[in-house]
Structures are given as structure tokens and as C-alpha cells.
């Protein structure tokens, strides 16, 4: 392994969270982002080739060293580590609406789910999976919610582009109704991911 890969390995090991390419580049400002990317790949291949118990995973907008799935049950049995608890069906449904409709207000979420759910929104906010990303231009200027990097981490995906496209599911989703002004950053965010 080259020195840059070693440095990256040390950083990923010591940080118990995903580190972005930019953060990893801070380790050595003299190298390019592409070189950092190559070094990350080299580290990943190193772990895979030698059959390590951990691997480099791209998720939540960055990279993190995680244990391999096959080892999970042994780790849990020995009480060395514990799987995170599952989300409830109500939380998953709410997350699904927000992930695909963001930025989206509570009224629209409740309308789609057919259930009033302030409690669920609060719980998701407390767990850091969603956040307030703005206010609607509509009546009463209600709060608009969007997903956080922690949400991507929860699913183990790199970015929102890794969500399956809506038309990959059996039934097509209604196109989102415009709730924000077109110049809003949040609206551009949704369009970029559409």
C-alpha cells in the first residue's frame, strides 16, 4: 500500500463516521482529489484481496470502514456489537414520501399516507434522519422536510441518486406538485435527483 492509502486507512479507522473525499484530501493537500479516490480504491481492494474482516464502504456521501455482513451474527452473539433497531412501518412510509418528494410539507405527507403523523416526523427528526430544509411558499408557509446524510447512511447508499428510480417500482408515482418557488435551492435539489 502506498503512503496515501495508509494515511486514508488511519483516518477511516479513527473516525467512527463516513469521511468525504474532500475530508480525506485534507490529510495531504498536495495530492489531487482523483489521487485520493484512487488511494481509497486501493485500500478497498487491499481489504477485499486479503480477505479482511472489514471493508471500505461508500455511503452517506463518504467512505467508512465497516465489518463484513457475514460476521454480524457472531459479533452480535458475543455482544461485541449490536445491529441498529429497525424502523417502524409508519417511519419507513414517512421516510419514503420525504425521500422521493423532498422538499415536502407535512400536509402532503399526511395526504399520501392517509394518516396524521406529527409524532412520526418528530421522531425521524430526533433520530437525525430528516431535517427542515425550508418553508413552502404556500398558505401559512409550512415547514418543508428533506432527508439527511444520516438517512443515506441508514440505507447504506452513497447519495440520493442511488435510490431506485420511481418507475422501477411496479406503479408510477404521481409527479410532485410544485410547492416551492422555482428559484429555491431546495427545488433545484429535487430536480437534480429526479
Amino acid at each position: 500500500m502506498n503512503p496515501l492509502s495508509q494515511l486514508i486507512e488511519a483516518a477511516l479507522f479513527s473516525a467512527a463516521r463516513p469521511l468525504t473525499l474532500e475530508e480525506l484530501n485534507d490529510l495531504d493537500p498536495d495530492v489531487s482529489l482523483a489521487e485520493v479516490r484512487a488511494a481509497v480504491d486501493q485500500l478497498r481492494e487491499h481489504y477485499d484481496f486479503d480477505g479482511h474482516g472489514v471493508e471500505v464502504v461508500e455511503l452517506g456521501g463518504g467512505f467508512q470502514i465497516l465489518t463484513r455482513p457475514a460476521l454480524a451474527s457472531a459479533l452480535e452473539r458475543a455482544r461485541v456489537a449490536q445491529r441498529s433497531s429497525r424502523l417502524t412501518a409508519a417511519m419507513l412510509e414517512t421516510l419514503a414520501v420525504i425521500a422521493y418528494r423532498q422538499p415536502v410539507g407535512r400536509a402532503e405527507i399526511e395526504d399520501i399516507r392517509g394518516v396524521s403523523g406529527a409524532g412520526v416526523l418528530r421522531t425521524l427528526q430526533e433520530r437525525g434522519l430528516i431535517e427542515v430544509v425550508g418553508r413552502s411558499e404556500g398558505m401559512g408557509r409550512p415547514l418543508l422536510y428533506g432527508t439527511t446524510p444520516l438517512f443515506l447512511e441508514l440505507l447504506g447508499i452513497a447519495d440520493l441518486g442511488n435510490l431506485p428510480r420511481a418507475d422501477e417500482f411496479a406503479i408510477a408515482l404521481q409527479p410532485p406538485t410544485p410547492t416551492v418557488s422555482p428559484d429555491s435551492d431546495a427545488a433545484a435539489y429535487v430536480e437534480a435527483d429526479a
Binding site: F13, A16, R17, E55, V57, L59, Q64, I65, L66, T67, R68, P69, A72, L75, V80, A81, Q82, R83, S84, S85, R86, L87, A89, A90, L92, E93, L95, A96, V97, A99, Y100, E110, D111, I112, R113, G114, V115, S116, A118, G119, R122, E153, L154, L155, G156, I157, P164, A166, F169, A170, I171, A172, L173, Q174
Partner: protein, 248 residues
């Protein structure tokens, strides 16, 4: 749809109304379940039959007091009535009253599929452990914390009862009397050149008398009317009149 936190709120006046929602996440979920059970196409729902079943099920599950379910029930009953109305001659011009319900069901079914996919993804992800395991925090009681007035008053009473000796503090207006102490010392020094601290204090001094005397002595020493001396550490103070006073 606007009722807060339904279906956890009861409309009945009696007992607190709690619904176990493990089975269904809402009226649309229940409706989809009924359609699946009957193997019915969403696009062609026999409204009359489904409306009756929906009402029966929410009654059995005790959901008939939950606002979200009630709203759906009334919607179904209205649809049932609309379907009974005679249609205009040509089928083309007929607008299916079920269209809105069908759209919502399809949309909801889609969300459920995504939710299922997310659940699988999160489950797979949770098999990969990060470094730095922290035990999960203990389960907190569900917010919001609800207290009734009697509970709050009871708690206040318990706190007050726990205070054993309330600290009472009485305030006395102008407890120090420096002028009187000054007069007493001047009178004593008019008779003798030297007096002791005990003499300056007078008989049976209180703590305020001690402080008044001390302040009087310091003030008089500052004006040069007397000198305060202590022959050795911890011996009584000796107060001696300054010659200047004698000259007055």
C-alpha cells in the same frame, strides 16, 4: 386528516383510547389489505362490498373512534351512495367517482413498496458494524410527556414537604448604631486616656453592638481622635486618646 395524532386520540368521553397499530399504519393500509385479501383490482373496486367490510373491520379492531379511519369510512359510504346513482346514457361522459380513491391507493401502494425496499436496505446495512460501538440509549417514554393538573400539584406538594426547615431570615432596619458607639467611646476617653476594648463595648454587647463599636473605633482612628493598639497577638485591644483630642 387534520386531527392531531389520530388514531391515538379517542373521541369517546370515557376511557383513554389506545390503538395497537402493529397491523395497519392507516386507513389506506387497511383498505389495501382488504383488497388483497379479496384479490380485487384497485382500478375496479366494488365499493359497496369494500365499504361494508371496512366498517366491519374498523368496528372489530376498535378503530372506529380514530379520526383517520372514520374519515375514510365516511368517504367510502359517500362513494357507495354515488355509485348507486343512475349513470348518464353514454359511458364516455361518466366520471368514475372512485377515480380519486384509486389514485390515492396506487400512490400509497407505491410508497409502501419503497418503504419495503428501504426496510430491506436498512436491514442489510445494519449487518455492517461501524467502529466505536456505543450501547443504544435506554428507551425514553414517548413524547410528548403528558401530565394532568393533579399530578403536577401532587409533585409540587411532595417537593415542598421535602423541605424540612425553611430558612427564615428576618430583616431589621438599621441594626448598627455607630453614632451611639462613638458617643460612648468619646465619653469614656474624656475621663481616661486609655480604655480597653471590653470597656468600649459596654455591658452585655450584642453582635450588632460589637460591629457598631468596631466601625466607630475605625472611623475615630481615621480622624486621628484615637489610636488602637494591640500589645501582642490575641490580646485585648487598647484604645488610647490622641493628644489632639485633649487640646480641643
Amino acid at each position: 386528516m387534520t386531527a392531531p395524532e389520530a388514531p391515538s386520540l379517542g373521541l369517546g368521553s370515557g376511557n383513554a383510547f389506545v390503538v395497537e397499530l402493529e397491523q395497519f399504519t392507516g386507513p389506506l393500509d387497511l383498505l389495501l389489505h382488504l383488497l388483497r385479501e379479496e384479490q380485487i383490482e384497485i382500478s375496479d373496486i366494488p365499493i359497496a362490498r369494500i365499504a361494508d367490510q371496512f366498517l366491519r373491520v374498523i368496528h372489530e379492531l376498535g378503530l372506529n373512534q380514530a379520526a383517520d379511519y372514520l374519515e375514510m369510512a365516511s368517504r367510502l359510504v359517500r362513494l357507495k351512495a354515488q355509485m348507486l346513482l343512475p349513470r348518464p346514457g353514454d359511458e364516455e361522459g361518466w366520471e368514475d367517482p372512485r377515480a380519486e380513491l384509486v389514485r390515492r391507493l396506487l400512490e400509497y401502494q407505491h410508497i409502501k413498496e419503497i418503504a419495503l425496499w428501504m426496510d430491506r436496505m436498512a436491514d442489510r446495512r445494519s449487518l455492517r458494524m461501524p467502529r466505536g460501538y456505543l450501547p443504544p440509549p435506554p428507551e425514553l417514554p414517548p413524547p410528548p410527556l403528558t401530565l394532568d393538573l393533579l399530578e403536577v400539584l401532587g409533585a409540587v406538594e411532595r417537593v415542598i414537604a421535602g423541605i424540612l426547615h425553611p430558612v427564615m431570615h428576618s430583616v431589621v432596619a438599621r441594626p448598627l448604631n455607630v453614632e451611639a458607639a462613638t458617643g460612648r467611646i468619646q465619653a469614656l476617653l474624656a475621663e481616661r486616656d486609655e480604655i480597653s476594648w471590653a470597656e468600649a463595648l459596654g455591658p452585655a454587647p450584642s453582635i450588632t453592638d460589637v460591629l457598631s463599636t468596631l466601625l466607630a473605633l475605625l472611623e475615630m482612628a481615621r480622624r486621628g481622635q484615637l489610636v488602637v493598639r494591640q500589645p501582642a497577638p490575641f490580646t485585648p485591644l487598647v484604645i488610647r486618646r490622641e493628644p489632639a483630642l485633649a487640646a480641643d
